[in-house]
């Protein structure tokens, strides 16, 4: 029985290895400097992925610019300003439910509110706002854990020196929790890079390099989806997938190491 369990575990690992090896072996040879810094030509059949990298960076940056203050603020409120009660339960339950909302529903929502009702159209702005809602629960959860991990003595020392609660939080607690909070932000970047369903209906799929937040932009993941689905170019699809998967894995791995080191410091 034990050997069966080990065999099944091995099989699962094999799937992971297979995915990474297949994407790397077929994709990495495509990833040349030219591929990275040239715009897609002929709908993506030729050329590189530069405009999609720009669009991905804009949308991800915008999403995190919006979600980070909201998420960290929520975490500070939950850990420093309230006792456990009805309010915290509702806030946490809300964040948990939001984390469970599938991306296609978020896409529908972003489409009707930002694209149609508010008239932002298919744009970096609509995509960034919707992604911000998607990553908010990740930032709340990791920031809360990080702030909780800062020892109580730090706060007590601040008060004994006559600092106000807000001063203690901004000068001591938040800096101490920063590596943990950064982890949450990095995980959110990883999540945003790979998101497709949300962006297809909020940011659109225009191949031009977006110049303002009201321009439509095609992210790497959406570009990859279109390349694969329309069968435009297998080598370019694999190349895009390689850039996507390897950057996400590196970001997640860094985030994980950062969190481990951070948690070890305070335990």
């Amino acid at each position: 029985m034990k050997s069966l369990l080990w065999a099944l575990t091995g099989f699962t690992l094999l799937i992971l290895v297979f995915i990474i090896v297949d994407i790397s072996v077929k994709g990495l040879p495509q990833v040349t400097p030219l591929f990275l810094f040239q715009d897609p030509q002929d709908m993506g059949r030729a050329g590189g992925i530069f405009s999609t990298i720009v669009a991905t960076a804009y949308i991800t940056a915008l999403a995190l610019l919006i979600a980070s203050p909201l998420g960290v603020g929520t975490a500070i409120y939950l850990t420093e300003y309230t006792r456990e009660g009805a309010a915290t339960r509702i806030i946490r339950f809300g964040a948990e439910c939001l984390a469970g909302v599938p991306s296609i529903i978020l896409g529908l929502f972003g489409f009707v509110l930002f694209v149609m009702k508010l008239g932002f159209g298919w744009s970096i702005l609509s995509g960034g706002l919707t992604l911000a809602i998607m990553v908010l629960p990740i930032i709340i959860r990791t920031s809360e854990e990080a702030i909780k991990a800062v020892p109580q003595e730090y706060r007590l020392a601040c008060y004994s020196l006559g600092l106000s609660q807000w001063q203690a939080i901004t000068r001591i607690v938040l800096p101490a929790a920063l590596p943990g909070i950064t982890t949450g932000v990095m995980l959110s970047v990883g999540r945003s890079l790979g998101e497709t369903a949300v962006l297809l209906f909020t940011a659109g799929a225009a191949l031009r390099t977006p110049l303002s937040i009201f321009d439509s932009g095609r992210t790497m993941a959406v570009h990859f989806y279109i390349l694969a689905r329309e069968g435009l170019s297998m080598p370019n699809a694999y190349g895009t997938a390689a850039v996507l998967v390897i950057s996400i894995l590196l970001i997640n791995l860094t985030a994980y190491t950062l969190m481990q080191r951070f948690m070890r410091r305070y335990s």
Partner: protein, 280 residues
């Protein structure tokens, strides 16, 4: 000083409402856009008819509901045994250095985007099914296998947490009574961790029901009730994603109404997961 503190607290409270208010906004907008159609067609007609011809005014999503359920059950059939085996191996049998490497490695699976899973499904799995089992390859089976793999990280990491939360005294007591390691796991640890494992399965189900891009790519998207696992199917999620770009009027409302059904299923799953966790 005091008033400043009060002011800061109020601002933070407003920020803290962001998640809840987003959730409320999402609910309100999805229902506002979709409910008129359900009222117009009638709930029974909407969810129990298999006739979906939006340009001719027929909006029945029964086939998609059935497909979503079947694809999810298929994903569970693969993902739960595989995921549980991994969780048990890592939590109970693996030496801790092995666990320290393998757990994050398996969690990395969660970071791989769903379009990549879908793509690899099209490149590797679909031809395999077409050649060896017949049919078009794009099928209920292909979608179930890909989803089964995609829910693994959820099932594994929550099950591991549930297993490691079982106090060591339970294991020591059982081994002191002469039970083997395996008997201990099966008779003592697994029952003690059962509510956590059920939560893991429910959340995995939620992921499978809600997954869109991978399913669109491998499921074939045909508009009929499947008669075998090799038939192409269209799920609730793919229906929305396939048609939203060009839908207008009643047709668009029907897609939001499809969203309502999906949203209710997901919320029901999340809610039961929370209830189970809280009871523990």
């Amino acid at each position: 000083m005091r008033t400043q503190g009060k002011f800061i607290e109020r601002v933070l409270f407003l920020l803290a409402l962001s998640a809840v208010s987003s959730l409320i906004l999402i609910t309100v907008f999805i229902f506002m856009e979709g409910l008129p159609l359900i009222v117009h067609t009638g709930l029974g007609n909407f969810i129990l008819s298999t006739h979906w011809a939006p340009t001719k005014g027929h909006f029945g999503i029964f086939a998609m509901i059935v497909s979503s359920i079947l694809v999810t059950l298929g994903a569970l059939a693969l993902g739960v045994p595989l995921g549980l085996s991994c969780a048990i191996t890592l939590a109970e049998f693996a030496p801790s250095p092995v666990r320290r490497v393998l757990k994050p490695a398996l969690e990395l699976l969660a970071g791989i985007p769903s379009v990549v899973y879908g793509f690899l499904g099209v490149v590797w799995l679909v031809p395999l099914i077409r050649e060896h089992l017949g049919g078009p390859g794009l099928s209920l089976l292909a979608a179930s296998i890909i989803l089964g793999i995609m829910i693994l990280p959820t099932v594994i990491s929550i099950s591991i947490d549930a297993l490691t939360a079982v106090p060591d005294i339970y294991r020591e007591g059982s081994i002191a009574l002469g039970a083997t390691r395996w008997q201990t796991v099966r008779r003592v640890v697994l029952p003690a961790a059962s509510s956590g494992i059920v939560t893991a399965i429910i959340l995995g189900m939620g992921r499978a029901v809600g997954e869109t891009m991978a399913v669109i790519m491998v499921a074939g998207n045909a508009l009929k009730l499947p008669t075998s696992v090799l038939d192409p199917v269209r799920t609730l999620t793919s229906n929305i994603a396939l048609e939203l770009a060009y839908a207008a009027g009643r047709h668009r409302e029907a897609l939001f109404a499809t969203g309502i059904v999906l949203f209710l299923i997901i919320m029901l799953l999340n809610f039961s997961a929370t209830l189970i966790t809280r009871r523990r």
